[in-house]
């Protein structure tokens, strides 16, 4: 799909021939994120449909206690210090951003009066600034008004390196100017295509200036409110025990009518995913549990009781295989898998192509992941319903055999193919995790039929995913021929996600293996496309560039996508909770309710 066809699609939406929703889903299908698609429409002057709320209760409160189970409990409640999603979710009960992203990628105003657009003058034509208008009459839990000063403060707070905020990347390159008491202008250093990151979504929660002002910079850790959040959210803070329990009670002055539904909220932490699923789906002790990393077989069995269900939303996480482009067995300057080497087997494109044909994605989905892993050919997200028609995957042992045969890889007496004295023996590593070992076995079996010998290796997750420079078994060192893991997509805009295949990001000894290009695949064409996308303001052109990048990565066969991993949560049958794959689970907590 090129720029022109994208423009045609947008025209179709404008003329009403294509629904907004279909448009978004088409773009998701070709490997773009929903928020990006939504933004393209905004730039083209197609106003966002007012997302219809499904919230039914007609009065505030009366819903009892909402019991959430997070098998990894929140350890801190300052969103600017959040280390993982568990901390973001804990903070999200009390703090709110200006806007969140719903599952279709629409921006939903939360503390903003409206979403900036070209029509309302919010978006500057040169892409260097955006004006946010704040909702009037919003109060912090302690009664102080929420104003533009709070936004300016959040920017100063997070951008200050001494604060050591984990949100620094979002705020350090922008400037925030107060226009009046309820509007601010966010100024970017260069034309910025994706403007809805600061103050939006997971990294946009806003903390009150009047309580954190004295604790900017070095003193940030001393702020008493790091543990006692005072926000604008639907629930007020009651009690927090790190790693165990977060409790809140209804905010009677909440800025939305009839909300929230529940009188109190509890977020219990600890334990493991399977028993969390049991507590929600089987016994009904809890209403909601997060991140169900549980085999689908177990979920299905639990669901038979009828007290709850597994809820699946699409996001951008992908389980994929990396095929090393460098040689892991030769050491150059104290480093294996060095850029100065080439992989003796994988430098032959026929071998990579054959491997791609030997990954039986459909079986992996059917027999291992079920609903929690959907077979895919794209590296960027790909929910089942909207699968792109242009990219396909195939499982074909015969074709793989033919490919290898014609490329000169002949079978030896032991059934293993060889060429020029080099045997097709490959070491394939991953972390220790039951579904991954099963996937390894499926691939090994297919490879055997094609005359490739796979040696399977499994590394403890705590070592494999560590950044320990001294350990040879980490995934970033990739001292191995092939490996498999899930790449998580943490931002709604694909730029940071796609940066991982640029040449500058190659993981090497020089950068202590912190680079994100693990397969060490390099392509000038890709780099050029990425650089162009970085400053390309026209969202349509930019989207076309991302599509191109996705296709380049897939065509290289150094990256073999296996299954797309949607987000799975457990919910009580009567709970109604709008979820989004592009934001936190609790992004729209104000609209959660229990059906009578």
């Amino acid at each position: 799909m090129n720029e022109q066809s994208l423009r045609d699609l947008i025209e179709d939406v404008r003329a009403g021939r294509l629904s907004r929703r279909q448009f978004v889903h088409t773009l998701v299908g070709i490997g773009l994120t929903a928020p990006l698609a939504s933004q393209m429409l905004a730039y083209s002057g197609i106003a966002q449909a007012q997302a219809k709320s499904t919230y039914k209760p007609t009065k505030r409160g009366g819903g009892g206690t909402l019991k959430l189970l997070w098998w990894q409990g929140a350890t801190l409640l300052n969103p600017h210090f959040a280390v993982g999603t568990k901390d973001q979710e804990g903070s999200r009960i009390f703090y709110e951003p200006l806007a969140g992203y719903d599952n279709d990628g629409n921006f939903v105003p939360i503390l903003a009066a409206e979403i900036p657009s070209v029509q309302n003058g919010g978006l500057a034509a040169d892409g260097r600034s955006v004006v946010w208008k704040l909702k009037q009459g919003v109060q912090w839990h302690d009664g102080k008004p929420f104003t533009a000063d709070d936004l300016v403060f959040n920017w100063e707070y997070a951008a200050n390196p001494a604060t050591a905020a984990t949100t620094i990347a979002t705020y350090r390159d922008i400037k925030v100017e107060k226009l009046d008491s309820h509007s601010v202008r966010v100024v970017f250093q260069k034309p910025t295509p994706f403007w809805a990151e600061a103050f939006c979504g997971t990294r946009g929660m806003i903390i009150p200036r009047h309580l954190f002002e004295p604790y900017k910079g070095d003193k940030s850790r001393e702020a008493p409110n790091n543990l006692k959040p005072v926000g604008t959210g639907p629930y007020r803070f009651v009690d927090f025990k790190p790693g165990d329990m977060v409790r809140g009670q209804i905010n009677a002055n909440y800025h939305e009518p009839n909300r929230p539904h529940f009188d109190a909220i509890e977020m219990k932490g600890g334990g493991d995913a399977v028993s969390a699923a049991r507590a929600v789906i089987q016994t009904g002790e809890f209403d909601y549990a997060w991140n169900m990393q549980v085999e689908d077989e177990i979920l299905l069995r639990l669901e038979k009781g009828g007290k709850g269900r597994a809820e699946i939303v699409s996001g951008g996480n992908i389980e994929h295989i990396l095929v090393n482009s460098t040689d892991p067995s030769t050491e150059v300057d104290g480093e294996r898998s060095s850029l100065k080497t080439r992989h003796p087997l994988f430098s032959d494109p026929a071998v990579r192509e054959a491997l791609n044909l030997l990954v039986d994605r459909q079986s992996v989905q059917d027999h291992i992941y079920g609903r929690t892993g959907v077979a895919t050919a794209n590296f960027l997200n790909n929910p089942e319903r909207f699968r792109s028609r242009s990219t396909k995957f195939e499982f074909n042992v015969d074709k793989a055999n033919q490919l290898l045969e014609s490329a000169g890889w002949k079978r030896g007496a032991d059934g293993v193919r060889a060429k020029d004295g080099r045997k097709l023996k490959i070491v394939f590593q991953t972390s220790i995790n039951a579904p991954r070992q099963k996937t390894q076995a499926i691939i090994k079996q297919a490879c055997q039929k094609a005359g490739i010998e796979l040696e399977l290796k499994a590394v403890t997750a705590s070592v494999y995913f560590s950044s320990d420079v001294a350990n040879p078994d980490t995934y970033t060192k990739f001292y191995c021929d092939m490996q498999m893991y899930t790449q998580t997509m943490t931002q709604p805009d694909p730029q940071v996600f796609m940066e991982q295949f640029t040449s500058a990001e190659v993981s090497t000894k020089a950068n202590k293996w912190q680079g994100r290009n693990i397969s060490r695949w390099r392509s000038d064409e890709y780099d050029k496309a990425f650089r162009a996308a970085e400053s390309e303001l026209d969202p349509v052109k930019r989207a076309a560039l991302f599509v191109r990048m996705n296709d380049l990565v897939i065509a290289s066969r150094h990256i073999i996508p296996v299954v797309f991993r949607p987000r799975v949560s457990a919910q009580a049958s009567k709970l109604r909770a709008p979820l989004s794959g592009w934001d936190n689970d609790l992004w729209l907590l104000r609209d959660w309710y229990r059906e009578a």
């Binding site: 050591a164 025990k241 493991d272 016994t283 705590s462 320990d468």
Partner: protein, 319 residues
């Protein structure tokens, strides 16, 4: 006696130092980094992590870090949790009451089972009651707590739906309801720990009583015309319990260890589950502090056991 006590207290100093050095070095050598999650998150620039590491002094050599930690510890500063960004002592104090409640009640339960059953079985050795008690005791201490824990959950929570299997330290109910809820949720973890401990103690009590009950002075007491009850309670049990009391004191730390697993299974927010989360998050100061508390408990309980000997059995004297 006081001289002995002083000597023992002095020995504690080097042992505590030794323990702390060992734990600290092992933790320093272990792979992992408290800010690992930041390293794998592309949205967090590497400088943030470098800054945090520098701020918490993680880049210094192990020896320097150890001396700094020791200095702070002597000054009563337990350190600062990387994961929660709060003081470690607050974190531990917040968790301690729950652990003490659960472990305390399980010990009471264990004693309530072990004493009567053990004594009764010993007074009627090889009777039907003794045989059954023995068999059950064997079963009890052969089954590890993580197994019985899950078994209890399956039977009482999932099949019968009688008891909750998620322990909550905050219960919003008041009055009787509050105690009832607490009782219900504590029942399974307490039973798991208590039955396991009770089983091994039963056997211990039985053999201790059995040793004493055959002695001549017991026969004398009987010959004197005392009732069976008085003989057993006043003459036998009192003497037989001396080794049992020390055993209970010595096993205290082991119970804290066993509670770690049980706490994890039932999501009991005690220091055991704190330790597990801290280990998973590589939160060194918290791991250090919790293991140190456990180490301190071992030493204290050992000392207590030795002192109890003297108090219970005047024939033993320390010089």
């Amino acid at each position: 006696m006081s001289q002995y006590l002083l000597r023992r207290l002095l020995i504690i100093v080097p042992s505590v130092l030794g323990i702390s050095i060992v734990i600290f070095t092992v933790l320093a050598l272990a792979p992992g980094d408290p800010f690992e999650e930041l390293a794998t998150n592309p949205n967090v620039p590497a400088e943030v992590r470098a800054h945090l590491r520098a701020k918490f002094g993680l880049d210094d050599p192990v020896a320097v870090r150890y001396v700094r930690w020791l200095g702070a510890m002597l000054g009563g500063d337990w350190g600062f949790s990387f994961a929660s960004r709060i003081n470690v002592d607050d974190l531990i104090l917040g968790r301690l009451p729950t652990t003490l409640l659960v472990i305390g009640s399980s010990q009471v339960l264990a004693l309530l089972i072990a004493l009567p059953v053990g004594v009764y079985a010993a007074t009627r050795p090889y009777s039907i009651f003794d045989q059954i008690a023995n068999t059950l005791a064997y079963v009890g201490f052969s089954l590890p707590t993580f197994f019985t824990g899950i078994l209890f959950i399956l039977v009482f929570s999932i099949q019968l739906d009688w008891l909750p299997f998620v322990y909550r330290s905050d219960i919003s109910a008041t009055g009787w309801q509050f105690y009832w809820e607490h009782f219900k949720q504590a029942l399974m973890p307490v039973a798991v720990l208590g039955l396991f401990q009770g089983a091994s103690w039963t056997r211990y009590v039985r053999s201790a009583v059995l040793d004493v009950i055959r002695l001549d002075y017991v026969t004398t007491a009987r010959a004197k015309g005392l009732g069976e009850r008085a003989v057993v309670m006043k003459h036998v049990v009192r003497n037989a319990l001396i080794p049992v009391v020390t055993l209970v004191a010595l096993q205290m730390p082991a119970i804290f260890g066993g509670a770690i697993v049980t706490e994890q299974i039932f999501r009991v927010p005690g220091i055991g589950s704190l330790l597990i989360t801290a280990i998973l998050a590589n939160d060194t100061p918290v791991i250090m502090a919790v293991t140190f508390v456990f180490a301190g408990l071992v030493i204290l309980c050992n000392l207590l056991a030795d002192l109890l000997y003297v108090w219970l059995d005047p024939r033993i004297s320390y010089r």
